[in-house]
């Protein structure tokens, strides 16, 4: 029996069998055949230049991008990519088991040049629970590498390909169930520079959008498991850039200076949604649509990035401020996390943009304040536990904790319009700080959060006529906390709002 089994392997049949479920999944086959037909003008190589030399690929974690490739000839590039399954933060207070290419989501950015021969090593860490593989959309060949890289935990696979077509390509795991492996974070970008390279710019960044489907609702704390039902029904709990809510805000925001030209390599891992990628306050001077190598359009406000696809956008920065990157399917941005920031320093140019700066609109201090609040919540929580231990009568949350929890929620949900200092924006968003309208009627304030409001209202003698959408994603407790914070900040003083009061308002008007 042993002899037979060994002979069976040595004939190579075993490896063919290990194509596994992946091939079954058809998706791969579809992609491969699409690629085979995609000999685009200017893209397909003529006679390949001679491949000389060898180097190890420099790979980076998002948002960084490896430097442009200087050499003028193709070479052999060795890529070592390690698959790891890790627990990391998805949002404040929310952990998730990410399956990663390189330890982070999105996976390492790989940069090669057209004509390079890539020797690809996929290493599945010994602690992994799952087998994994990789389908690089930059590969011409069956499965994009998936059929050659199906790798058990604690093992490595190797295959080679020639980067025939230049462009920006997604790579992802294609192990069954493919959707689940992608949904858990298994994607990244590989850039194949055209022979002539891209025009030089001042800065390049790597941004990748994706969705997460968790058992608990948005904001539900603790380690959240993947929810297959929500994934199948395409109801994401989170839509994020670079693997976590607020991965690119506050101190982690992208940075640039006035006068510089920025190039963004934008990917969309999906698994389901198409992104309407937009930078608030900027216009893309050039868009290499769908990650191809030709500038297909200039002066673009919003560009589509398909799931399993990419785009390259470039823009010059004329005035300073904080620019907010969003999926302009806009509830994803403000309610599910698809929001990032680019902070631009430098002198004003009043001719380009004058009047009240909207710099503060985009919450430079949001993240640090949020983290500080989270830390204080934890400390206070411990204190309360101690107290409860000694005095069992105390079973409810103190107002102080409510304020801190509410602050965290406010910064994530409300401050975009009402501003971190509660001052609102003149003519558009009414102030909460010192607001007579807010403090006059507690029940009304609850209803407005639950159901929104529209039409003229008078706040401190000024009339505002705009629309506030209902904040539907918050729990009763979260609404109570955020209102308790608002009613006890920036000079406001009022009693706490309880979850019961919120529940009553919700029920009374349903």
């Amino acid at each position: 029996m042993q002899k037979r089994a060994l002979a069976w392997d040595s004939r190579g049949v075993g490896s063919v069998l290990r194509l596994g479920l992946i091939l079954l999944v058809g998706l791969v086959i579809g992609e491969a055949s699409t690629r085979a037909q995609s000999t685009k003008p200017g893209g397909a190589p003529a006679a390949p230049a001679e491949v000389t030399g060898q180097e190890t690929a420099v790979m980076t974690d998002a948002p960084l991008v490896p430097p442009p490739i200087k050499r003028d000839h193709p070479t052999k590039v060795i890529v070592n990519l390690e698959v790891r399954e890790v627990v990391q933060r998805l949002a404040d207070g929310v952990d998730y088991v990410f399956w990663t290419f390189g330890g982070r989501v999105p996976g390492k950015f790989i940069r090669v040049k057209q004509g390079d021969v890539v020797e690809f090593h996929l290493n599945n860490h010994p602690s992994s629970k799952m087998p994994h593989n990789i389908d690089l959309h930059a590969v011409t060949g069956p499965g994009g590498g998936a059929t050659s890289t199906f790798t058990a935990p604690g093992h490595s696979s190797q295959f080679s390909f020639t980067a025939l077509n230049p462009g920006l390509y997604v790579y992802h795991c294609a192990t069954a169930p493919v959707g689940m492996h992608v949904a858990n974070g298994m994607y990244g970008l590989i850039l194949v520079e055209p022979r002539e390279g891209f025009p030089p710019v001042d800065r390049e960044y790597y941004i990748m959008q994706s969705e997460f489907y968790t058992r608990g609702r948005h904001g539900a704390e603790g380690l959240q498991p993947f929810d297959m039902e929500k994934a199948i029904e395409e109801r994401p709990t989170y839509v994020v850039f670079n693997g976590a809510v607020n991965a690119l805000v506050g101190d982690n925001a992208l940075k640039a200076n006035v006068g510089e030209t920025v190039r963004l390599f934008v990917g969309n891992g999906g698994p389901n949604l198409v992104s309407s990628f937009h930078v608030i306050g900027e216009i893309f001077d050039k868009v290499y649509a769908e990650g191809g190598t030709a500038v297909r359009q200039e002066n673009v406000q919003t560009t589509l990035v398909p799931a399993g696809g990419a785009a390259i956008v470039e823009f010059k920065l004329e005035v300073p401020g904080t620019y907010v990157l969003v999926d302009h399917s806009i509830f994803r941005a403000f309610n599910k996390g698809a929001l990032a920031m680019l902070k631009v320093d430098g002198p004003d140019d009043k001719r380009v943009y004058s009047g009240r700066e909207v710099d503060e609109t985009y919450l430079g201090e949001q993240a640090p304040e949020g983290y500080a609040a989270a830390q204080r919540i934890a400390a206070l929580g411990k204190k309360v536990e101690e107290t409860i231990k000694q005095t069992p009568a105390i079973a409810t949350m103190t107002k102080e904790i409510q304020v801190e929890k509410g602050k965290l929620m406010f910064m994530q949900t409300c401050a975009v319009c009402h501003q971190t200092n509660g001052q609102g924006l003149p003519q558009v968003f009414p102030p909460l700080a010192g607001s007579d309208f807010l403090m006059a009627d507690k029940a009304r304030s609850i209803r407005i959060v639950l159901r929104g409001t529209s039409g003229p209202i008078s706040v401190n003698g000024t009339t505002y006529d705009s629309v506030m959408p209902p904040v539907v994603q918050l729990t009763d407790e979260q609404v109570a906390n955020v209102l308790t914070y608002v009613r006890n900040s920036w000079g406001n003083t009022g009693e706490a709002v309880s979850a019961d009061e919120v529940r009553l308002e919700r029920e009374n008007h349903n």
Binding site: G20, I22, L24, V86, A152, P153, A176, M228
Partner: protein, 274 residues
Amino acid sequence: MGTVFLVALECCSLLGIVWTSWAVPAAGEVPEPPSGMRFIVGGVYTPLFKAEGVEQATTVAPFYLDIYPVTNAQYMAFVQANLRWRRSQVSPLLADAAYLYHWQADSPLPEVDAAIAQRPVTYVSWFAARAYCRWQQKRLPSSAEWELVALASETAPDGRMDPGYQARLLEWYTLPDPAVPPLIGSGQKNYWGIYDLHGSIWEWVADFQAAFVTGAARGDKEAEGDRFCGFGAFAVSEQERVNYPAFMRYAYRSSLRGTYTLHNLGFRCAKDLP
């Protein structure tokens, strides 16, 4: 020849299986199982998707199955009686370099031994698992047998239509493994009285790659066409939606070779009725 490659399934069939019936023994006919094993009534194993000309259903005969995965302590006894399976002696043709990695020596060091004795043995190859079962006058279960038993929830022989139960099973596949596997018996006890099939470790089966065997030439266009059709059916089947755990087990098994030894892969044995 043993039981290896006993069940050669057409490729599309692995996408899911439907157990349409169980053989019900008449009262008083249930044979007394050997110590440490349970009697499993047979069943009819029906793949959801079949190519033309392939048998529609496979009958699984009644058999015995170990109640628990094989422990480190049990495997140690095997190694002491079969020195060629010592960590330092094993042939590289039969187990890769990580074989019994966690023992750190030919016999587990005392402190290691205390920690792992009653936990499932892992870092064992398919060849090693098969040798152990033979030494016990047993055999590895086929994937059909294993999956039949694994369908059961705590209270029913087929737990698939209980979405809550399936969701709990799927959760295990998304969580990182602990540093050492849980103690045997600490997991679920299912309808058949079998422990730890879910939520503990992966387990070897005799035909761990049979799901991909068509019996003839591979890699031709026809075969790929079959796979493609399987996916379409998979995506739309309500039945399959709740059978993701089985789907993931097939994927896992198909990544293995017989010599592989992994931190989360062990086994249990089966036995034919007398």
